[in-house]
Symmetry: C2
Subunit: 138 residues, 2 copies
């Protein structure tokens, strides 16, 4: 095949030649890179946790189920916004519903997400995060 890894500072990636500095290192890191699908799924999960409204909903559900209107009250959002958010989270199996009459009780269903939340909150509550655009080092 048309490999050009022998060309100094140039390697083939996905069929097109790219400039690199540390070719062997690049090869190693590329091999260890998780599958595209896995990375995209992981990015999706992080994306679901990246909205303050949804994050609040999930944190509220950490120790038990709540109905939509209580979730709206706890998180300070409109019931419509909460419903839309829950629909998204439900579609990704992160929360699950229990229906009782006209009430809908949601619970946190994904243990993986629960761990991410626990880990993230444990850190942010103890150490202050640094805010953007505050100057950088030398």
């Amino acid at each position: 095949m048309n490999r050009s890894s022998d060309v100094k500072g140039l390697i083939d990636i996905d069929g097109c030649s790219v400039r690199v500095v540390d070719a062997p290192r690049v090869a190693t890191v590329r091999e260890r890179m998780p599958a595209t699908q896995d990375l995209d799924d992981t990015a999706d999960v992080f994306g679901l946790l990246s909205d303050p409204g949804r994050l609040r909903l999930l944190v509220s559900l950490l120790d038990g189920e709540l109905c939509v209107c209580d979730l709206a009250a706890v998180t300070g959002q409109s019931e419509s916004a909460v419903s839309h958010a829950l629909r998204l989270l439900r579609a990704h199996r992160i929360v699950a519903v229990r229906r009782s009459g006209r009430m809908a009780y949601y619970r946190l269903e994904d243990p993986h997400v629960r761990m991410l939340l626990d880990l993230a909150l444990a850190h942010t509550e103890h150490s202050e995060l640094i805010h953007p655009e505050r100057g950088e080092q030398s």
Copy 2:
């Protein structure tokens, strides 16, 4: 003060009356809710991890520093896109730079983010994530 928690199903939140079902539970969950600032910061961090390009960059940096062009090669992005992404991550102190001549070597700086990445990847590589819009339960 104008508390109306005695009104059946109605409580005061931030000065305006809201309908709730389980008032004491709502109060408890609200008390346990982390500070607004902490939640917003946490959502920001998740947001930074929610882009496949940035996620790839950070994963690439998990075991050591790499220069911009190698990061572009490893992650399959343009050098400009990589530079923009690194700028964002740098502003949030998630990565740090070491400059040597005209080269810029980036490394993963935030141990908190490293843990989140490790946890997230450990799970996605072993268990398949469910994709959206596949129908739900009863």
